[in-house]
């Protein structure tokens, strides 16, 4: 510490030397080979000095007398070397100083200790450990403050990630994803609801996890203000792998993961139906019914990922190329997924290394067949689970179709015509769902070093995805959900995001003061959902059965052109002032202009941020055990625009006979940008030469002016209105602990704990209407937002009870329900925990991740249906017992047993008493376990750099779980339908093998 200060003091002096030699060179970090920015270079014994630029390059006029240059940087061991043109200095990190270069907004690298806000970096290797196909799914539990839920729809499905709680009322509160400094598109189109539907995926699954060098999570708006509006919910910064100079390497990795359904509902197979009923409510037990057809329905899924990457280059030009192939066969028969990724990154230096041109191209192609949906309609699981037990399932399995001679085609053969009942094998074999994405993300960057302090960087990016959803339901299927000639839902569109920015950055040091500043302009033009959508649900449906083409749509069908577009322009600036490497002040501001706010006075809006960091360990002498201590605080305001086309709406075509639908929306010419104010304070400390570390943050975020579309009151004159409303407060605490308890040549153990808790409160929704609730009854429950409550409070019908807590039975002895749905809990967990361990012993390594979510509730409508249909194990057990035990009262008579048939006639299904189906969301699981072996390639004389093989497992078992399904496996990744499930895919256990070879 003292040494650095001395060097800085030396640097302040002004020196005139008689003879000088100009020496140029670069300083890189030994850790990652990346340039060290802002390293001090001083000619020893003189006061001549400079600092390295953003590429780690320096240029210094060395006085003739000086024989040695001293290179230093906070957190790194100072190094001396003789001046030599083109010299390359490798600085090793000084564990006592804890330097950690992290990528921040716009791709700017900063020393983590200077940051005024919380961020957490996760290395690419960590994401690859358990061979997840989706990098965000792999992140779960590995960073504090991020809540990740994966769609239950399997490979290629979407992910819901929320940083520090839900901040947006109608938006998704999902972070902005940024690749190498440039925002990427992450659109979700469709998600299932109670009635059915299929997850159409998002923008994350197309990224090849092997291409990721590291991920840095900027948790609060404080960190992401430079991204403007879109960064209001935090940012996930992805840094991709780049070529490295002087080093050609080829690496290959292959993983094969098997997947088995592990969370099947518990069912009974001994009570059937009477009178051919759809409901298995017989009270006569039989042991002769078929028992294994549910279990046998699912197959062992397989996921394979094979990837190869090549990097290489020289001092001027470096390239990185990778190819990955991902294949998955789901646990649902006929579900498959194929993905091909190509990535090419290159970088070249020109004009005396002053100009750096780099480019990157990511190409991804994804094809998903029969991605499992959820909900009542067109879902094989409803018929599978609810099948009356006395019937012959195997007959229906073999004979899923029957010939209709009148129509000369096959129709579904099934015992029931209920709207949610289907022969599962008819759906598997006759219906087809295709989801396809072809995506290119291409960028070019030019950075020019005007002088040693000033740099100009210009970047451009296009993110273009062509998407197809083609869902075909065969003629002769369920009469409610499928038209007699077949049903077709078709969408073909593209999502395009153009991004360009120009940034001038300035670095300099004036005595004790260091300045890092930048100013820039950004332009973003998004055109989403640009294409065609159509469905056959008009009139009689398709003209010719089972022919799925636009020309076969019925006359009344309307083929829609769709679009969602916006332009956003931003001007931003950021200044970081450092004083003596111990105090940093960070000031940022951004002004945005948003097309979605045109025709309002608010289409231009400014928002600022300020932060302060003090490095205590630089300021005062701390006990030896404390190697580093820092405190930080920051405040920011971020504004977010409103969605496309909300200010002035026009007429839509209503039918093919000259009709329109009038836009019955209240005027919204007073629209305002949404506003999120973030406050955070934090501390970072390291102990015992850095072997133990701690980072803690408390935040307090307030969201206001939230955009909502609500039904207009009946009397208002409009059907809908848009409003800027609400005050949502999210406050929470994040704690990360890491330690290296064992550190020796042969034995090492690293462990880290990520803890976060968040409380959300809706302090105000619509001020003029304090009882207003967003969210409505969804057949059996509602998740609502209401003033005084929290985001997604769950309401269900509870048992009506007297003051003594006894359930009130009616005259027939059936439990009665409360008159209205009442609060049952909030679906968000209260706190989350991740405990990550990696152990190495000689050539063996082991890693283990335990994740837990604590608090919150979830609801299973599947279980409610299984009970109401008498097929659940619970109802079988109740019939074995002869009663359901209750604490009830009928009139004035206490009752402690109710006949199961009576009980389940009012409990469960979709509108009954749902209280018994609300479960604690709390669950603790062994998320990841991998055990591997590093093959000693030298000993075996293999022509390899290194090689390893490992056995991996994911979601192996639960230490604790109360719900009859996996509450973290999301039926939907949109805002509604959180922590509930309606016949969604049961979650799986994953296990397999992972092989890595570097040439």
């Amino acid at each position: 510490m003292r040494k650095t200060m001395t060097l800085l003091c030396l640097f302040i002096g002004i020196c005139w030397a008689s003879a000088q030699t100009k020496i140029t060179g670069t300083v890189v970090s030994a850790d990652d080979g990346q340039p060290v920015i802002g390293a001090t270079v001083v000619a020893k014994g003189t006061s001549v000095g400079t600092v390295t630029n953003v590429d780690g390059a320096f240029s210094i006029n060395v006085p003739s007398g000086a024989k040695t240059l001293v290179f230093s940087y906070v957190g790194m061991v100072a190094t001396e070397a003789a001046p030599q043109n083109g010299m390359k200095i490798i600085l090793k990190s000084d564990t006592k100083q804890m330097k950690e270069v992290v990528v921040t907004a716009l791709g700017i690298k900063r020393d983590k200790k200077t940051l005024t806000y919380a961020s957490q970096q996760v290395g690419g290797d960590e994401l690859k450990k358990a061979s997840d196909m989706n990098f965000m799914d792999a992140l779960s539990g590995k960073a504090a403050g991020i809540d990740i839920k994966t769609s239950s729809s399997g490979a290629g499905g979407s992910t819901k990630a929320v940083l520090r709680g839900n901040k947006s009322i109608s938006g998704l509160s999902e972070p902005l994803y940024v690749i190498d400094g440039i925002p990427m598109v992450n659109n979700k189109h469709d998600q299932p609801g109670s009635y059915g539907g299929t997850d159409t995926g998002d923008g994350l699954s197309q990224i090849n996890p092997d291409d990721i060098e590291s991920i840095n999570i900027l948790k609060g708006a404080n960190a992401s203000i430079l991204y403007g509006s879109q960064g209001a919910n935090g940012v996930v910064l992805i840094t991709t792998k780049k070529g490295k100079a002087d080093k050609v390497s080829v690496s290959f990795s292959s993983s094969t993961i098997f997947e088995n359904v592990s969370q099947l509902p518990k069912l009974q197979y001994t009570y059937g139906a009477v009178n051919g009923s759809d409901y298995s409510w017989s009270t006569t037990k039989s042991d002769s019914y078929q028992k294994d057809y549910v279990k046998n329905f699912f197959q062992t899924g397989v996921n394979t990922i094979n990837s190869v990457s090549v990097t290489g280059g020289n001092a001027k030009t470096q390239v990185y190329f990778s190819y990955a192939n991902t294949y998955a066969k789901g646990t649902m028969p006929t579900n498959s997924y194929v993905k091909n990724n190509f990535t090419f990154n290159s970088s070249t230096k020109l004009l005396n290394d002053k100009l750096t041109l780099s480019s990157g191209v990511i190409f991804a192609q994804e094809k998903t067949k029969n991605r499992p949906g959820a909900g009542y309609y067109d879902n094989p699981l409803t018929g599978l689970y609810l099948f009356p037990r006395e019937r012959d399932f195997n007959y229906y399995k073999t004979n899923y179709a029957k010939f209709n001679s009148d129509r000369n085609l096959n129709v579904m053969n099934w015992f029931s015509s209920e709207e949610k009942e289907n022969n599962p094998y008819w759906i598997l074999n006759e219906d087809s769902k295709l989801d396809q994405t072809k995506r290119v993300i291409a960028n070019m960057k030019a950075s020019y070093e005007i002088n040693k302090h000033l740099k100009l960087e210009v970047r451009g990016n296009i993110d273009y995805a062509d998407k197809l959803q083609d869902y075909r339901l065969a003629a002769g299927g369920n009469s409610v959900s499928v038209k007699p000639t077949g049903s077709w839902t078709y969408a073909n569109y593209n999502d395009q995001a153009l991004y360009t920015d120009g940034i001038v950055s300035y670095n300099n040091t004036f005595g004790k003061l260091s300045v890092t500043a930048l100013a820039g302009l950004a332009y973003q033009n998004n055109t989403f959902s640009n294409g065609i959508s159509a469905n056959s649900n008009a009139g009689d449906g398709l003209i010719f059965p089972n022919f799925f083409a636009l020309q076969n749509l019925p006359a009344a069908a309307i083929v829609q052109n769709t679009i969602d577009r916006s332009i956003k322009e931003g001007a931003f600036a950021n200044v970081q002032l450092g004083y003596k490497d111990m105090l940093y002040l960070d000031l940022s501001g951004r002004n945005d202009w948003a097309s979605t706010l045109s025709l309002t006075p608010n289409d231009s809006y400014f928002y600022p941020a300020v932060g302060l960091t003090g490095i205590i360990s630089q300021m005062v002498k701390l006990p030896e055990a404390i190697s580093f201590a820092k405190v930080r605080a920051s405040w920011s305001n971020t504004a977010n625009d409103v969605p496309f086309n909300k200010i002035e709406k026009w007429y839509t075509v209503a039918n093919k006979t000259g009709g329109t639908t009038a836009p019955t929306y209240a005027p919204f010419n007073n629209a305002k940008p949404e506003m999120i104010t973030s406050n955070e304070v934090g501390a970072e400390m390291r102990f015992l030469s850095g072997r133990i570390g701690m980072e803690a943050t408390y935040y307090y975020d307030v969201s206001k002016n939230q955009f909502v579309q609500v039904s207009a009151p009946s009397g208002s004159g409009y059907d809908y209105q848009f409003l800027n409303v609400g005050k949502l407060v999210n406050k929470g605490f994040e704690l990360t602990l890491d330690a290296e308890p064992i550190k020796s040549r042969t034995f090492g153990w690293k462990t880290s704990v990520n803890y976060s808790m968040n409380t959300n409160k809706i302090e105000e929704l619509i001020a003029s209407d304090p009882n207003y609730a967003i969210g409505s009854n969804d057949e059996g429950f509602k998740t609502i937002l209401k003033a005084g409550g929290s985001f997604n409070d769950l309401y269900v019908y509870h048992f009506a009870r007297n003051s003594a807590g006894q359930i009130i039975l009616d005259a027939n002895g059936k439990p009665t329900a409360e008159g209205t749905q009442t609060y049952a809990g909030n679906v968000n967990s209260k706190w989350n925990l991740g405990w990550n361990n990696s152990v190495s012993y000689k050539d063996f390594f082991l890693s283990m991740l335990v994740t837990g979510k604590f608090g919150g509730v979830c609801i299973s409508k599947t279980q409610a249906f299984l009970d109401s249909y008498g097929v659940s194990k619970t109802t079988g057990d109740a019939r074995d017992l002869g009663y359901v035990a209750v604490n009830a009262i009928q009139g004035t008579t206490a009752v402690n047993q109710v006949d199961p048939v009576k009980y389940y006639s009012v409990v469960g299904d979709r509108n009954g008493i749902m209280e018994p189906y609300v479960y604690s969301r709390t669950n603790v699981r062994l998320s990841q376990l991998s055990i591997g072996y590093n093959i000693n390639v030298k000993k075996l004389h293999l022509p390899l750099q290194d090689a390893s093989v490992s056995l991996v497992g994911r979601d192996l078992f639960f230490f604790y779980k109360k719900a009859p399904y996996d509450p973290e496996s999301a039926m939907s990744t949109s805002n509604s339908m959180q922590s509930n499930e309606v016949f969604s895919m049961p979650a799986s256990r994953y296990y397999g093998i992972n092989l890595k070879v570097n040439f």
Partner: protein
């Protein structure tokens, strides 16, 4: 410099427009702005499944469901599960017509405003028969509380609006501006004037018991108006389905969610009604109708015990021809005559002779539905509705409450005459059942079966075992967004906001005269 480079916002307005929607400017071409919303507006006069079929079709005992929706506890068993006519029909028409009325003023095409107001009276007179008080005169006012009109005020407003509409139509009877947008009457104003008079008569008859003087005044006004009423099937008021299928056909054929009602079987079979073959098709299973093999039809009781959807699926569907109809009925000449017949019983001037009106109504109905044998039918003084047997579940079987016959007898007591009129009116309004539900509550006729399964309770109101549902509760969204308005509306309703509270014109008096 930075700002000037960036703030290039000139194209923002265009960028935020949806190019796949039609601007007001674009629609002014060919006067589409005023006329094109009418196909949507008029298609919202009647509902689909939950706001029509599982509401009035079932409450009026014309169609029944064999699907045990929501574990068999739903609207049809008197536990309100779906209550959407309010939001999906009534106020959709109100908001769309508001736009038309504003634009009619802006573009000086006042006839479109009259047309829009007529659409409002048509739909809101249905809505009030479901809920009672409505937001109407205060519609479109700002503020957090919007007050409801009590029913008596609503009807007065309807009548006053019909006055001005009719006056404007009279003054512009040759106006051709509607032609392009009017699938109902091809822009013929005199036809719309007939609808205005018939509608006035319908509303007047509703009030015959509760406000006899007002009813008489309005009824006589309708009967005396020179423009005439819908007295011939060629004047029937229908709306185009715009290429869609008749909702009832979709619900019946595609979804298998609705079947012939047991009461329809009881009356049509019992009275040897030729319309049965036009309304329904034989049951798919010939063992079902062994109680009357010559009439191969079988209905489902409303409020039935249902084991599974499959249990009653082979009961009678509606006639296959409903799959190809292109329009929906709202007011037929037969209804006009049945209204006149009742008006005659009540001694209203201009109503003519009750017997003639009644028989003309029946004949017009047979002819409208394409059924034969009307003369024999009208002469039948002995056939009465039959008892009903549910071959799948005897709990649903019932003994008919009605002993009505078809033939008119001037010597019959006036109540029996009214019962005959309303019974025939009920049969005629098939596929357009809301007014039949009104008549049933107002007069007690026809004497229809009660629910077998009754899940009503104090939450939404208890319906007695020998009683029928009286109304639907105000909608949840209003309860939260306009709580003070709803509280006020409940005082105007004159009873708790439950399904057991009678509407204004449902006086509960045993005698209809």
């Amino acid at each position: 410099m930075l700002v000037s480079l960036v703030a290039c916002t000139g194209n923002f307005v265009t960028e935020n427009e949806n190019p796949y929607t039609l601007s007001e400017q674009m629609l002014t071409q060919d006067n589409n702005l005023l006329g094109s919303p009418f196909s949507s507006i008029l298609s919202n006069l009647s509902g689909f499944q939950v706001d029509d079929n599982l509401l009035n079709d079932c409450f009026a005992r014309q169609m029944a469901t064999g699907t045990p929706f929501a574990s068999g506890i739903n609207n049809t068993t008197y536990y309100p599960t779906w209550n959407t006519f309010w939001s999906e029909r009534a106020y959709t028409v109100m908001s769309a017509t508001k736009k038309v009325i504003e634009n009619a003023k802006k573009y000086n095409l006042p006839m479109f405003a009259d047309w829009a107001k007529l659409a409002r009276v048509l739909v809101m007179s249905k809505a009030t028969a479901i809920y009672g008080p409505l937001i109407y005169s205060k519609y479109g006012t700002q503020g957090s509380t919007v007050l409801y009109d009590k029913e008596s005020d609503l009807y007065n407003t309807f009548f006053a609006q019909l006055d001005t509409i009719q006056a404007d139509f009279k003054a512009n009877s040759a106006y051709t501006g509607f032609k392009k947008f009017d699938a109902s009457y091809n822009g013929d104003i005199p036809s719309w004037m007939r609808l205005v008079n018939s509608l006035r008569l319908r509303l007047a008859i509703r009030l015959a018991k509760v406000a006899p003087a007002l009813a008489k005044t309005q009824g006589e006004k309708a009967l005396a108006d020179a423009a005439g009423l819908i007295t011939d099937n060629k004047y029937n008021f229908t709306t185009s389905l715009n290429g869609s299928k008749l909702p009832l056909a979709t619900i019946c054929f595609d979804w298998d969610d609705t079947r012939m009602d047991a009461a329809m079987e009881s009356f049509l079979v019992g009275l040897n009604d030729g319309r049965i073959a036009k309304y329904f098709q034989p049951a798919a299973d010939n063992t079902l109708y062994s109680d009357h093999p010559s009439y191969p039809y079988k209905g489902i009781r409303n409020g039935a015990y249902l084991d599974s959807k499959g249990q009653h699926i082979n009961f009678s569907k509606i006639n296959a021809s409903f799959s190809s109809v292109t329009y929906r009925k709202h007011f037929t000449a037969a209804e006009t005559y049945f209204l006149m017949a009742e008006a005659a019983l009540r001694g209203w001037a201009g109503a003519g002779d009750a017997k003639t009106d009644y028989e003309t109504g029946v004949k017009l109905s047979f002819s409208d539905w394409g059924a034969g044998g009307v003369d024999a039918y009208l002469a039948d003084a002995t056939s009465t509705p039959i008892n009903y047997i549910d071959p799948k579940d005897s709990r649903n079987s019932f003994t008919t409450r009605s002993t009505v016959t078809v033939a008119w007898n001037n010597a019959d007591p006036i109540e029996l005459k009214l019962e005959k009129i309303i019974t025939q009116k009920w049969i005629n309004t098939f596929t357009n059942s809301l007014e039949a539900w009104v008549d049933m509550r107002r007069t007690g006729y026809p004497k229809l079966p009660f629910n077998a399964k009754n899940d009503s309770n104090d939450t939404w109101g208890t319906i007695g075992a020998t009683d029928f549902i009286k109304r639907m509760p105000f909608v949840d969204s209003e309860r939260t967004s306009n709580a003070a308005g709803v509280a006020d509306a409940i005082t105007k309703l004159g009873g708790p906001d439950k399904i057991s509270t009678r509407l204004w014109w449902d006086t509960g008096a045993a005698s209809n005269f």
